[in-house]
């Protein structure tokens, strides 16, 4: 299967090559997928790239995302910008502003990216009207993972679709001695949970507060309502969450110790690795939406291209962007990562997890309804400094007994302070 696909790909690429390339296309991609299934996925990209006639090289930076950015900055400052870097969200726009990024408009027009890429992503990939990046996948943030045994224990058959329904089931779980909400104790996990709640309260609120950073929305009543809901859920967490990573809550949920866990779809990779099974150990659904509409918080990994002086690297960029945008790569890359392709025209086969297949359907439905938003907590919406400032308030709220009104006011203040 893979072989056939690679062969096919090599064919198409060879065609492209025959048309334009004199030098052997080369690339060196800087990214943070250094291990496990992530690394395997990126190696697939390398294989496909080589099959297409390119010479593949990569620099994987382990650890936090900021390590990758530190490396990028060091490389740019010392005068050797990498030909391709994994970057996301507004960061792409920031780098585009420096004038150091490459222009992929011709390739995009040729391959019709505008049509196939999820609409919410297009503006991210072409921040100043030029395509400077190619999206690799779409991660959904607003997943609700539910423990099947826990659901059965309280006699719930349907997963909740609004926060009121959720609160009712969670209340029952608490009575049964099950921890209703599993949670980790790092600011980005806090932020993830809170943005899921905000989207559930109102998509409009999410856009105004987390994308436009409208001060009224940040301290308005709806925001207070979101904090109220968060306060309720904090009450349903166990005491031990601070400092916990994101995997431990997943285990608690899948083992039935906890009822729900709100977290992004990279959880699928870990659950596969730990041997948990869909519909046996866990269930999945989009997080509750009070509006009744489908909701979607989107996160996407993408590759940004920096201007190169050497012909072989310029050719290599085109070939890499083209390879990334092939449906085959988009499928192979996302199967184990838990995410789905960034192209909307790809159907997912049986090798994908049921939750991933549902992801694609939900994305289409939400796109239809106009409720797709970019993730604030995962660097897709606002610059890092605002994100950190909001995280500060959210994490403070969770670990203290701050009231919702104060919290909302401090959200607005935090944003003002960073301007």
């Amino acid at each position: 299967m893979t072989k056939m696909m690679t062969g096919l790909l090599a064919g198409t690429a060879a065609l492209c090559l025959g048309l334009q390339a004199q030098a052997e296309p080369k690339t060196n991609m800087l990214h943070q997928w250094h291990s496990g299934s992530n690394a395997e996925a990126i190696n697939k990209l390398g294989e496909m790239y080589e099959a297409a006639g390119g010479s593949w090289n990569q620099t994987a930076v382990p650890g936090h995302t900021s390590n990758t950015i530190a490396r990028l900055r060091a490389d740019v400052i010392s005068g050797n910008p990498p030909s391709a870097v994994q970057l996301k969200g507004p960061e792409i726009g920031e780098w585009a502003k420096t004038g150091l990024t490459a222009n992929l408009n011709d390739l995009a027009a040729e391959e019709n990216w505008e049509e196939v890429v999820a609409p919410e992503l297009v503006s991210v990939m072409k921040p100043r009207g030029e395509w400077v990046a190619a999206p690799m996948n779409i991660h959904r943030i607003d997943w609700m993972w539910a423990s099947k045994p826990a659901m059965e224990a309280v006699g719930a058959t349907e997963l909740p679709t609004t926060w009121d329904e959720f609160n009712a089931i969670a209340g029952k779980m608490a009575e049964q001695g099950i921890i209703p909400v599993a949670h980790g104790g790092q600011d980005w996990i806090d932020g993830t949970l809170f943005e899921i709640i905000v989207q559930g309260i109102s998509t409009e609120l999410f856009r105004e507060a987390f994308i436009e950073m409208d001060l009224d929305a940040l301290q308005g009543e709806e925001m207070q309502a979101a904090f109220d809901q968060l306060r309720l859920m904090v009450g349903w967490m166990d005491d031990a969450f601070p400092g916990r990573g994101w995997e431990e809550p997943l285990r608690m949920m899948a083992e039935g110790e906890a009822g729900f866990y709100f977290h992004g779809d990279w959880a699928i990779g870990t659950m596969n690795a730990a041997g948990y099974e869909y519909d046996v150990d866990y269930l999945c659904a989009g997080a509750p939406m009070n509006s009744g509409q489908p909701g979607y918080i989107l996160n996407s990994d993408s590759v940004v291209f920096f201007e190169q002086s050497r012909e072989d690297y310029i050719e290599g960029q085109k070939l890499l962007a083209s390879t990334i945008m092939t449906p085959e790569f988009q499928k192979v890359f996302n199967v184990t990562k838990g995410s789905i392709p960034a192209r909307m025209d790809v159907e997912l086969g049986e090798d994908f997890n049921p939750c991933q297949r549902q992801n694609l359907q939900d994305l289409r439905a939400a796109a239809e309804a106009g409720t797709v938003v970019r993730s604030m907590a995962h660097n897709m919406a606002v610059p890092e400094k605002f994100r950190k400032a909001m995280f500060t308030v959210i994490s403070e709220f969770i670990t203290s007994d701050m009231d919702s009104q104060t919290a909302a006011r401090r959200m607005a203040e935090a944003v003002i302070n960073e301007y």
Partner: protein, 311 residues
């Protein structure tokens, strides 16, 4: 009668060439270090100070934007909390690590059997990186995975250890992990120094009838003060650079209760792309360092003066 010597008789004598050349040898030995560390310390710091005065964000821009970055920093709770945490942590960490290290060294100095093994045991934590240290202690201190769960399994259901889950106490969890990491190293340094102290000093103290504790406090420890100064400096620099340990242990939480200046600097410089602000924060750290470091230097100097005076 000999004529009384007058101060006017005394004129400093110029040094001979051979003498000057022989004095150049140690200077020549130091020269590479002087040049490299000179660049490393002064040029880099000045670059950093300059950066803090520019409007740099994603990449360095060489313009002048004033001192805005310096003042706005103090409105940021992550920064102010971090500074406070560093002060508290620094004090506890340095105090406790020195105490534990010195006590262990003194205990190890009592002709203990299996000294080699014990020393290696106490020393190994320094071989473990901060990330692994933080992660492992996170597991141990977390109520649901660590000691608390373990003790509960043993049957003591009431046992609670919410050190890292409370905003007020999480900083102490960082202290524990950090002390664990460095105490053995301090022990080894002090032990090495203790072994250099002449036994007769101790014997003299014993003959004077002083109890062992006082002998160590009054005779032995003052004799190894340069090493203690080293220890102090080492711990101080650890404290100031506290970064990966906290990220792995508490991720700066709960809330922002265990955030640190170094984390803030790194966030600003690399994650947030606010070079000027990050640089300004770094300059504040250096200023703080000078403020803390001066008394240490003064102490060093005073001790040396005293020693020099006695000789």
């Amino acid at each position: 009668m000999p004529s009384a010597p007058h101060a006017a008789d005394f004129r400093p004598r110029p040094k001979s060439r051979a003498r000057r050349i022989s004095e150049l040898v140690p200077l020549a030995v130091l020269l590479p270090t002087l040049i490299t560390t000179g660049i490393y310390i002064f040029v880099f710091v000045i670059w950093n100070i300059y950066l803090s005065l520019t409007s740099s964000t994603l990449l360095p821009v060489y313009d002048f934007a004033g001192f805005d970055a310096y003042t706005r920093l103090w409105r940021n709770p992550r920064w102010t909390t971090g500074v406070w945490n560093l002060a508290l942590f620094g004090l506890l960490y340095i105090g406790l690590t020195t105490l534990v290290g010195v006590v262990l060294a003194i205990l190890m100095d009592q002709k203990v059997r299996g000294e080699n093994l014990l020393r290696s045991i106490f020393l190994y934590p320094i071989a473990i990186s901060f990330v692994v240290t933080g992660t492992t202690w996170q597991w141990i201190l977390n109520p649901s995975t660590g000691l608390e769960a373990f003790v509960k399994q043993l049957g003591w259901q009431g046992f609670e250890m919410g050190l890292i889950t409370s905003r007020e106490t999480a900083i102490y969890a960082v202290v524990i992990a950090a002390v664990w990491h460095a105490a053995g190293f301090v022990m080894v340094m002090v032990l090495a120094a203790l072994r250099g102290v002449e036994r007769d000093l101790v014997k003299a103290g014993q003959i004077d009838g002083a109890p062992m504790l006082r002998i160590y406090r009054r005779i032995v420890l003052p004799a190894i003060w340069p090493v203690l100064i080293s220890v102090l400096i080492i711990l101080l620099q650890f404290a100031i650079k506290t970064f990966d340990l906290v990220l792995a242990l508490t991720h700066g939480g709960p809330g922002i209760s265990t955030t640190f200046p170094a984390i803030f600097v790194y966030d600003r410089l690399f994650a947030a792309g606010e070079l000027a602000q990050g640089a300004a924060a770094a300059v504040w750290m250096l200023i703080g360092l000078v403020v803390v470091f001066l008394p240490v230097l003064a102490l060093n100097w005073a001790l040396k003066r005293r020693k020099g005076g006695a000789a």
